[in-house]
Amino acid sequence: MPPEGTGGGWKRLLRMGKMGAGVAGSYFGYLAQMAFLDTEARQTRGREGRARVARKLRQELQALRGPVMKIGQALAMQSHALPEELIAELTQLQMRAPGMHPSLMRAQFKSALGRFPEKLFSEFEPEPFAAASLGQVHRAVTRAGHKVAVKIQYPGIREAVRHDLRLLKTALGPALLSGHFPKAALKEMEARLLEETDYVREAANMALLRQALAGLDFVRVPKSHQECSTDKVLTMSFLEGLHLDDWLARKPTREEKDRLGARLMEMFYHQLFQAKAVHADPHWGNYLFDADGGIGLVDFGCVKRLDPAYVRRFSPICLYTGRADSQQYRGLIEALFRGEGLKPSRKTLEVMSGFSHLYRRLYPPFPKDEHRPVDFSDPSLLNDFAEHCTKLLKTKGLLPELVFVSRAEVGLYNTLHRLGAKVRTSEIVRRYLARA
């Protein structure tokens, strides 16, 4: 029998998940498989063995068809009972909703918009050309002749999410009361998950980022077509471009790759400091790259708006030239938390101070080093950063903003690593700090 405490909360949750329910099924039913992992993990010796098991589990969960599962990440944030390797795997977990055959797709479309798609568009392809996290995307042409992408959500997902969040709250009951699982994180997670099932919200996010990033001429954000959109169907202008792997397959030059890297970095800091709205799930699947090195953004399910005061408190931490263990640095971190009415734990302070070393490598702070490009093809940079993020995510009393921005950062560095780009990071950041 596993010991009580946060570990016990897990087990209860899984058992309830197994009992499953809800018309559209339960996410957590899928997590029930993890019950096996615990015994296996305990029996398997050594890091490698555990890593293997974790990877196997992630693959199995990926293969299961079920609605999007970001809960794995949030749960991983607070589960001290789980092996590290599993947490690393879980933070990457992203499942997809089941596919819809044309009959289901048309029925869902009609249920949302009142008419079949052929009646609303002048052309509409019945087979999807891309999967979305909660549904699928179809090519179409509007009556007015515009090429559009129509994203249609799989039915019943919001209800499944709500149901599972209720289960989660119940199962985590004691952990919530004791503060082991921060209520703020749960609320944040709830809001973000439900936000993702609401395409009206996504259309609003898209419009927000479209306006916010208008100043960057290399960024393209689609425009939504309100007349053909609801909370379950999103019609937006069609973006041409290739996903990262296909773009790389065309054998771009070093200059092209570096320029793209610089642009991605600029886009990130523009969002952070200027727009104060972050595309909070920048998986490289959400980018489309065109022949001119332009960047198209898709998927606006998760856009985190940042409080300007928070950004103000955050900026002195960037390009910090002092010592990481100094009173001054700690003071800056404490001020960051204090602004949200929280106090960072000793462990959190320790981990965040540890970040400072990493940031020095990523963003050489001294003006004399500023023009030296950082080589993102170096795997140690990314691994160290990801490892440190994992540590950060395990500390208690974490600011939700930090969680989202860290995730966005890891996504950015991941993409830069895959590009193998060399970027003058500090130059870019300094430019944005000056404007902020």
Binding site: A24, H101, G156
Partner: protein, 220 residues
């Protein structure tokens, strides 16, 4: 004298035209009935009112439908005919995986019934009266069901996924009919916007049901 002439004139009229007129009248009565059921509910609408609305004499109605229940039965007969015809017309659907075919059948049925959702529950409730021709065990109902069951059986037999004979095979159409009635009940109580919950339920339960069928086939 004049009466003889009238009769002669009647004989000269082509039987096709008479049939067509009968059909037109039958449809007019059905449509009037559906309108009234929608306004007043199934039980409270009377045949007198239906006749008036259809523009026929009350006596005329009884030439076409013995009881109000028979009107409902005719409605369901047309539903089944419509769904079968719609299905057979769709070349792509006839080649689709069985999961989609079965989904489409039920979806088309629900689609057809949507404008009448308001009073359908009441009709089904009335159908439980033993004397009703709507009762599942009545001769009329069974005749209607036979067409449907035959249609479903054809689907199972012509689909590569299920054409191999299995223990459950002979019963599959009946099971499907019962399943459909379950979905219908679910749908009637579904107040999610656009009855989206029914779509989710239908998709998931079909997947599970078919894997059970296939499992049984392997076990046999």
């Amino acid at each position: 004298m004049s009466m003889l002439r009238i009769r002669k004139n009647n004989l000269h009229r082509a039987p096709g035209r008479r049939q067509k007129n009968k059909e037109r009248t039958r449809e007019a009565i059905l449509q009037a009935a559906l309108d009234l059921f929608g306004k007043k509910g199934f039980a409270r609408a009377t045949t007198k009112e239906i006749a008036r609305r259809a523009g026929v004499a009350e006596g005329t109605i009884f030439n076409y439908f013995r009881t109000k229940d028979d009107i409902a039965l005719h409605f369901f007969r047309r539903e089944v005919a419509h769904v079968i015809a719609s299905f057979e017309r769709d070349a792509r659907l006839r080649r689709a995986p069985i999961e989609e075919k079965l989904f489409a059948v039920i979806q088309k049925q629900l689609e057809y019934l949507t404008p009448y959702r308001g009073f359908l529950g009441e009709i089904l409730f009335q159908a439980l009266r033993p004397a009703s021709s709507l009762h599942p065990l009545s001769l009329e109902s069974q005749r209607l069901n036979l067409d449907y069951l035959e249609f479903i059986r054809r689907i199972f037999e012509t689909s590569p996924e299920t054409s191999r004979a299995s223990m459950l095979g002979a019963l599959a159409p009946q099971v499907f009919l019962i399943y459909y009635l379950g979905v219908l009940l679910f749908w009637l109580h579904d107040d999610s916007p656009g009855q989206e919950a029914t779509l989710a339920f239908l998709d998931r339960s079909l997947k599970i049901g078919l894997s059970v069928l296939r499992g049984a086939a392997h076990a046999a």
